[in-house]
C-alpha cells in the first residue's frame, strides 16, 4: 500500500505516478490522503490498480477510467467517472451532477444520492445509486443500466435510446419517449447481478423498468412537438 499526500505533493505527481502503471497488470494499492475537494483525482488510469481516496473530491474524479478500482471515502463533485470505459468506481457519499456521463463501460456505485444529469448520454456503463437521483438523468442514454434504489427526479430518460433504467422508488416524471416497460426474467437477472456487485440490499422484484418507446428514433412530423 502506497500513501500519497495530495496536499503536500500535488495533483500532477499523483496522476503521473498512477498513469505510469498504465499497461501493466500490477495490482498495487494506493491511498490518497488530504484530497480536500481537489479536481481530477485519479484520472486516465488504465491498469488494475486499487485507489482509495480518503475524503471528498471536486470535479471529474476517476474520469476516463479503465480497469482500475477507485473508491472515494467521501462525496464527489461534478462529473465523477465521466467517460469511464471499464473498471469500478465506488463513492461512499453523494455525487454531484453528471455522474458517469457518457460512460462506455465499467460499474459506478454511488452509496448516497446523485444529483441532476446522472448517466447523461450513457453508452454502456452500469450505474447503481443507493439513494435518489435528480432531474434529467440518463438524457439521451444509449446503452447500459441505471439502477436507483431511491426516487428519480424529473424527466428521467428523456430522448433515450437503448439504456435501461430500474427504479425502486417513485419517478417524478418521465422524459420524452421514455416509458415504463415490462420486467422480464432476463431483466431480473441483470438487476440481481448489478445489485450484488454494488453491495445493494434490495430485491430485483421491487423495481420497475423504464426505457425508450422508440418513437423518436426517426423523424416523424407527427412527433415534431417531442423533439
Amino acid at each position: 500500500m502506497q500513501t500519497y499526500d495530495l496536499e503536500a505533493n500535488g495533483l500532477r505527481g499523483l496522476n503521473s505516478a498512477l498513469q505510469e502503471l498504465n499497461g501493466s497488470s500490477n495490482k498495487t494499492a494506493w491511498e490518497i490522503v488530504n484530497p480536500k475537494g481537489s479536481h481530477a483525482i485519479a484520472v486516465g488510469l488504465n491498469s488494475p490498480v486499487e485507489v482509495t481516496v480518503k475524503g471528498s473530491t471536486g470535479y471529474y474524479c476517476a474520469g476516463m477510467n479503465q480497469q482500475a478500482t477507485v473508491r472515494v471515502e467521501g462525496s464527489v463533485g461534478p462529473g465523477v467517472a465521466e467517460n469511464m470505459m471499464s473498471g469500478t468506481v465506488i463513492v461512499e457519499g453523494d455525487a454531484s451532477q453528471y455522474a458517469g456521463a457518457t460512460g462506455h463501460g465499467g460499474l459506478l456505485v454511488i452509496k448516497g444520492n446523485a444529483s441532476s444529469r446522472c448517466g447523461i448520454s450513457m453508452k454502456g456503463i452500469d450505474i447503481v445509486v443507493h439513494g435518489n437521483i435528480g432531474h434529467m438523468c440518463a438524457f439521451m442514454g444509449q446503452a447500459g443500466n441505471l439502477v436507483v434504489l431511491g426516487d428519480a427526479g424529473d424527466a428521467l430518460g428523456d430522448s433515450c435510446y437503448e439504456a435501461r433504467f430500474f427504479v425502486r422508488g417513485s419517478v417524478k416524471s418521465l422524459g420524452a419517449d421514455c416509458i415504463e416497460k415490462e420486467m422480464r426474467p432476463e431483466h431480473i437477472e441483470i438487476l440481481k447481478d448489478l445489485l450484488a456487485r454494488a453491495g445493494a440490499d434490495a430485491k430485483p422484484e421491487e423495481f420497475k423498468r423504464y426505457g425508450s418507446a422508440r418513437q423518436l428514433y426517426n423523424f416523424d412530423v407527427d412527433n415534431a412537438q417531442a423533439y
Binding site: G37, G77, D94, S96, Q97, S115, S116
Partner: protein, 298 residues
C-alpha cells in the same frame, strides 16, 4: 464561471474570525473568478446609526473633507472610516436616503455600494487575494458574510460589474451564472422607475428583487419570483440584516454545496471552499435542490 462563498454564523464565539474564514474561502475560489472580487459583511451595529459604504476611483480627492461636507448638508454629525477605495460613512438612522441625495451632489462620481445598519460591501477589480488584502477583510468580524469571485461573461470587468450588489437596506445579492432576459427585464424595470446603472445582468437580478420587495413581496417571495421571471442560469446567494438565503434555477447547472453544523451554515460553489471550516468532517454537507428557496435567520 464565478465563485460564491457564504458563511452564516450560529456560534457567537466565531464572529471575530468571520473575515478570516471568509477570506480563505474566497481565495480558494480564485480560479473560478480571477477578474474581480467582493465581499458583503454584516458587522457591528450602533444604536440609532446607519452606515453607507461608498467607493471612488479617486479616493483621495473624494473622501477628503467628505464627513464635514456631508454633516453640513444634513445638519447632523457624520463620521467617516476610509479603507482603500471605499469609505464607510456613519450617519444617524433615518438619514440614509437624504445622505444618498447629498452625496450625489457633493461627489457625483462616487458610488454607494451599500446602505444599512450592519452591512458593508467592498468590491474591486483584481485577484481575490489582493482585493481581500486591500480591505483587510481578514480583520473583519461579523455575524454573516457573502463573498464573490468574478469571471465576467455578460459585461465589462469593472468595479460596478463586481458583486455583491445591494438590493436594499442591509440586503445584498451575489450571482453565479448568466441571465438571458436581462435586457428586456431592465427596460421593463426602468419603465417602472427602477434605477439600473450598468449593462450587467446581475444588477438586473438585484433590481428585480428590490422592485418585488418595494411592491410588498417578502424576500422569500421575491426569490420565488426569480424562478418565474428570470430566464437563464443562476445560483443566487442573498444576505439580509439577520438572514442568509440561497436559490438555484430549475436547470441547476451551476455548482453549489452547502454545509451545516451547530456553529454555522456555509455555502460554496465547490466543496474546496469549505474544507478548512471547523468541524467540516462531521458537518451535514449537501447540494441545494433546484428551484428551491433556502433561508436561515438569526
Amino acid at each position: 464561471m464565478c465563485g460564491i462563498v457564504g458563511l452564516f454564523l450560529k456560534d457567537k464565539t466565531l464572529e471575530p474570525k468571520l473575515g478570516d474564514m471568509l477570506t480563505d474561502m474566497l481565495i480558494t475560489m480564485t480560479d473560478r473568478g480571477p477578474d474581480s472580487a467582493g465581499i458583503a459583511i454584516y458587522g457591528s451595529e450602533a444604536e440609532g446609526r446607519t452606515k453607507l459604504t461608498v467607493q471612488s476611483d479617486a479616493p483621495d480627492a473624494a473622501f477628503d473633507g467628505l464627513d464635514g461636507a456631508l454633516a453640513e448638508a444634513l445638519s447632523t454629525d457624520v463620521s467617516i472610516r476610509v479603507i482603500d477605495t471605499h469609505a464607510v460613512l456613519d450617519v444617524p438612522a433615518g438619514k440614509s436616503e437624504e445622505a444618498r441625495a447629498a452625496l450625489a451632489e457633493l461627489r457625483p462620481g462616487m458610488r454607494v455600494m451599500s446602505a444599512g445598519d450592519t452591512i458593508e460591501i467592498y468590491k474591486e477589480v483584481g485577484l481575490p487575494e489582493k482585493v481581500a488584502e486591500r480591505f483587510d477583510v481578514r480583520g473583519m468580524s461579523g455575524t454573516h458574510g457573502i463573498g464573490h469571485t468574478r469571471m465576467a461573461t455578460e459585461s465589462a470587468v469593472t468595479t460596478e460589474g463586481a458583486h455583491p450588489f445591494s438590493t436594499g437596506s442591509d440586503q445584498c445579492l451575489v450571482h453565479n451564472g448568466s441571465l438571458s432576459n436581462h435586457n428586456s427585464l431592465r427596460r421593463k424595470l426602468q419603465r417602472d422607475g427602477v434605477r439600473i446603472e450598468s449593462q450587467n445582468d446581475t444588477e438586473v437580478g438585484a433590481a428585480y428583487l428590490t422592485w418585488k420587495m418595494q411592491h410588498g413581496a417578502t424576500l422569500g417571495e421575491a426569490l420565488e419570483g426569480t424562478l418565474e421571471d428570470l430566464d437563464g442560469f443562476f445560483n443566487f446567494v442573498v444576505g439580509t440584516k439577520d438572514g442568509f438565503g440561497v436559490v438555484r434555477d430549475p436547470i441547476a447547472c451551476k455548482p453549489a454545496v452547502m454545509a451545516e453544523t451547530d456553529q454555522y451554515v456555509a455555502f460554496g460553489s465547490e466543496y474546496r471552499a469549505l474544507v478548512n471550516l471547523p468541524g467540516i468532517e462531521d458537518a451535514r454537507v449537501w447540494e441545494p435542490e433546484p428551484a428551491t428557496v433556502y433561508f436561515w435567520n438569526h
